[in-house]
């Protein structure tokens, strides 16, 4: 059976077309993944950006003995339901702190109720027609405005959406990650040093290696069960504390740090070790003075990536009680605290639009921090990476 050249070249065309098709399909797959990322971030921004603004009202505030007793008396009757209760209840304390306020009436901007906030943003609100009439008038006068929502960054969780913020969750995240780092970094690096530089190649070492690989694949929620059983029930550490959360996340991050540290150590060429041994260094001296300093950028990069992963983790923290109503920022690792992803999870369960906004805004903050961390890791690698 023979084919003419025409047949063959036609066939060839088809074959090259198939290559082209494969190329475009694979390009499309990549584009699809990238598109998703764009859609996803766009969706979060659209949902979240309103939360960075908060309605405020410009009203006369009367500081009198009556308003010290009943804060509601401090503002005029028609705006009483429009001003945030969270702001009003602080009045007596403000007055106690600053005695000169007494007897004065000051025109000032005050935080508005979340329903007012929703109304100003053009969303559905529970306001009654009478209230919206007052508000419409105020908007016209310029005495009701959307301003930058500073509260979102300075307060903790609250039952009043206009006062709900991420400050205490952020502090909880920082404390938790400090514990994680203090535990996982030294242990991880030491383990990697042992496996890469000291360990004999025997069954025991192989068992540790396999074990670390497996640990990296264990679902995170199982680490939560471990934290509950060991740290809380066995060691009696305080529930919901950054200490327990941090150690739990530390155990979870350990494999990541070990694996990246090992590859960083491996990238240091053997000639350096041989030279150091040659001048009489002991094994530990070789590691401490030569191998570790040279592989430090790689180790730090890996640790940052591990930390970023721990920062976004929620499931094990639910189990150890870090998902709770905790408005105050923690000041010690033994106090109750919540973390950013846990706060996002709590808010996601609230039906009010104001909380949906805040959930998305919290997500934006969390994502920005994560992107910064990862960018730092990439920069670190770029700047200090050495090719041997």
């Amino acid at each position: 059976m023979s084919h003419s050249f025409d047949d063959i070249s036609a066939q060839l065309k088809g074959r090259h077309r198939r290559t082209k098709r494969l190329k475009f399909m694979s390009m499309g797959a990549l584009a699809l993944a990238a598109t998703f990322l764009v859609v996803f971030i766009g969706d979060m921004v659209m949902r979240g950006y309103p939360a960075f603004q908060q309605a405020e009202l410009h009203v006369p505030v009367t500081y009198s003995e009556q308003s010290q007793e009943i804060p509601l008396a401090a503002v005029e009757e028609d705006v009483r339901d429009l001003v945030s209760r969270g702001w009003l209840r602080q009045l007596p304390r403000d007055m106690a702190a600053d005695a000169s306020l007494m007897g004065q009436t000051i025109d000032r901007w005050v935080i508005a109720d979340d329903q007012v906030d929703q109304y100003l943003k053009g969303h559905k609100s529970h306001l009654k027609p009478k209230q919206t009439a007052v508000l419409d008038r105020m908007i016209e006068n310029g005495t009701a405005e959307l301003k930058f929502n500073i509260n979102f960054f300075t307060t903790g969780d609250s039952k009043l959406p206009e006062y709900a913020g991420i400050w205490s969750a952020a502090m909880g995240t920082i404390l938790t990650l400090l514990v994680t780092l203090a535990f996982a970094f030294p242990v991880g690096v030491l383990t990697a040093v042992y496996l890469e530089e000291f360990a004999p190649d025997n069954r025991f070492t192989q068992a540790i290696e396999i074990n670390i690989n497996n640990l990296a694949a264990v679902p995170s929620i199982l680490f939560g069960l471990l934290g509950l059983a060991i740290f809380i029930n066995f060691f009696g550490m305080p529930r919901s504390s950054p200490l327990v959360g941090g150690l739990t996340l530390g155990l979870m991050t350990l494999p990541v740090i070990i694996i990246t540290t090992r590859s960083a150590l491996r990238s240091v060429p053997d000639t350096i070790r041989q030279a150091a041994f040659g001048v009489g260094c002991s094994r530990w001296q070789v590691v401490r003075d030569h191998v570790l300093p040279l592989s430090l950028p790689g180790i730090l990069t890996g640790s940052i990536i591990g930390l970023a992963q721990a920062m976004g983790e929620t499931a094990p923290l639910i189990i150890v009680g870090m998902v709770a109503f905790i408005p105050d920022a923690p000041t010690a690792i033994t106090q109750a605290a919540t973390v950013l992803p846990a706060q996002i999870f709590t808010w996601a369960g609230e039906p009010e639009q104001a909380y949906v906004e805040r959930t998305a805004a919290g997500i934006l903050v969390l994502l920005s921090v994560l992107i910064l961390l990862n960018a730092a890791a990439v920069m670190l690698r770029k700047k200090f990476e050495r090719r041997w």
């Binding site: 090259h16 198939r18 290559t19 082209k20 098709r21 494969l22 190329k23 399909m25 694979s26 390009m27 499309g28 797959a29 990549l30 699809l32 993944a33 990238a34 990322l37 996803f40 969706d43 979060m44 242990v187 030491l190 383990t191 040093v193 042992y194 540790i208 074990n211 690989n213 497996n214 640990l215 694949a217 264990v218 679902p219 929620i221 199982l222 680490f223 069960l225 471990l226 509950l228 059983a229 060991i230 060691f235 350990l254 494999p255 070990i258 002991s282 530990w284 970023a308 976004g312 929620t314 499931a315 189990i319 998902v323 992803p341 846990a342 996002i344 999870f345 996601a348 959930t359 997500i363």
Partner: protein
């Protein structure tokens, strides 16, 4: 005395002991050396040695006290602890100083100690694995004493009924009707994982092929980190996205077609989870494809194969073990994923093949059982541990198979960068 104060004092004692010992050890060594004796090690090393011999035991005393207080409920006064550690540090210092002699190998002694510390660190990961196993297995065994293992694995009705009230002593006179057949949970988990894999494997693999075989270097350097971002997004964020954007979208898409979709349908968490695990597949597949030796490409092209045919008939078959391995890893990630399903999947154990219905998963049950109530005697709470055990074993097996496959690939092509 407050615990914090005791703690500070303790740290102070240890640090001070270390410092004193370091300087006295070093100066003794310097004196010995000055006297003309040949020493095996440097004065600094003798200093380090005495520091360790003094501060080390004191630290151990503190650690032992902590463990004793925490586990055995032994009451230890802060003062006693401080005095004990001080005494131990002093004794350690005396012994350490006595050992500072010309024929003592201080460096080797430190080296040995460091080796033990390193082994200790390496043991922590093993202890962790055992810790997970132990913290799951005892409660799981208690569960299987109440409910049969066989019904758990094969039963098709998951209905904790009033087992909780029974355990809490409030189900008086009511007959227990609890059923713990986990198949509906496994089915839900499997369905969502399957959807995720159907999304992730084609997209991940094709993206890897593009990056490894077609993309110019500039695209590659940008595309890889961008894909990695997908894996870096916290799962709670994906969960929110799945619940609030994707699920309503799916309902809206299907309702004009006359198909009724639940707002907790399995499709939404499945799709979103699939996107999350794309980078797990693309990244590892990319590595595997690039480590297929170039000689195979050249050979294939030399035989007149087109680029596409080379990829399809030569490279992908060669890389198959690695690709399967990547898929298995991604699968174990999907099985154990919690937040996405907790936020977006259903609560109802539902045995169905329709991804538009609501289904629940193993991880959802674990979270629900452990946060709803902590009555450890009830079969419903204990079932969380039995489910945890199943999850642990399954993910472990998947990971093992994956490791074996990738090792085979590595040995075959001596690809060392995997």
């Amino acid at each position: 005395m407050q615990t914090q104060q005791i703690f500070l004092f303790f740290i102070g004692i240890v640090a001070l002991a270390g410092l004193v010992a370091f300087f006295s050890g070093r100066s003794k060594a310097q004196r010995v050396r000055a006297s003309g004796a040949e020493m095996y090690a440097q004065p600094d090393q003798y200093g380090w040695f005495t520091a360790i011999s003094s501060a080390g035991p004191a630290l151990l005393v503190g650690l032992a006290a902590v463990v004793a207080i925490a586990t055995a409920d032994i009451d230890i006064e802060g003062m006693q602890l401080l005095i004990a550690s001080l005494v131990v540090a002093a004794v350690g210092l005396v012994i350490g100083l006595a050992l500072v002699k010309p024929d003592f190998h201080a460096r080797n002694a430190i080296e040995t100690l460091i080796r033990y510390v390193l082994i200790g660190a390496a043991m922590i990961s093993i202890v962790t694995t055992f810790g997970i196993l132990v913290s799951i297995i005892f409660e799981a065994i208690r569960f299987f004493q109440m409910e049969s293992f066989w019904t758990f694995i094969t039963g098709t009705t998951w209905d904790p009924g009033n087992s909780f009230q029974m355990a809490a002593g409030r189900g008086e006179g009511v007959e227990s009707t609890a059923n713990f057949g986990a198949v509906p949970l496994f089915a839900g988990t499997f369905m969502i994982t399957l959807i995720a894999m159907l999304v992730a494997i084609p997209i991940g693999l094709l993206a890897a092929v593009y990056m490894a075989e077609f993309a110019p270097e500039s695209v590659r350097t940008v595309a890889k980190p961008v894909l990695e971002v997908l894996a870096g997004i916290p799962t709670v964020v994906y969960g929110f996205f799945a619940a609030i954007t994707v699920a309503p979208l799916i309902v809206d898409i299907f309702s004009p077609l006359g198909i009724e979709a639940s707002y907790n349908n399995a499709l939404a968490p499945g799709l979103v989870m699939g996107i999350m695990i794309i980078p797990f597949i693309s990244s590892l597949s990319d590595d595997v494809i690039t480590s297929v030796p170039d000689t195979m490409r050249q050979g294939s092209l030399a035989l007149g194969m087109t680029h596409g045919e080379t990829i399809r008939n030569v490279i992908l078959p060669a890389a198959l073990p690695g690709i399967i391995s990547a898929s298995l890893l991604a699968m174990s990630r999907a099985l154990g994923e919690t937040m996405i399903v907790v936020m977006a999947a259903g609560m109802r154990p539902n045995l169905t093949a329709n991804p538009l219905e609501d289904m629940t998963t193993v991880t959802v049950r674990i979270v629900a059982a452990l946060t709803g109530d902590q009555e450890f005697a009830s079969a419903e709470t204990l079932s969380a541990f039995a489910l945890g055990l199943v999850l642990f074993v399954v993910t472990l097996l998947l990971n093992m198979v994956s490791v074996v496959l990738i090792r085979r690939f590595r040995e075959k092509y001596s690809a060392n960068n995997l």
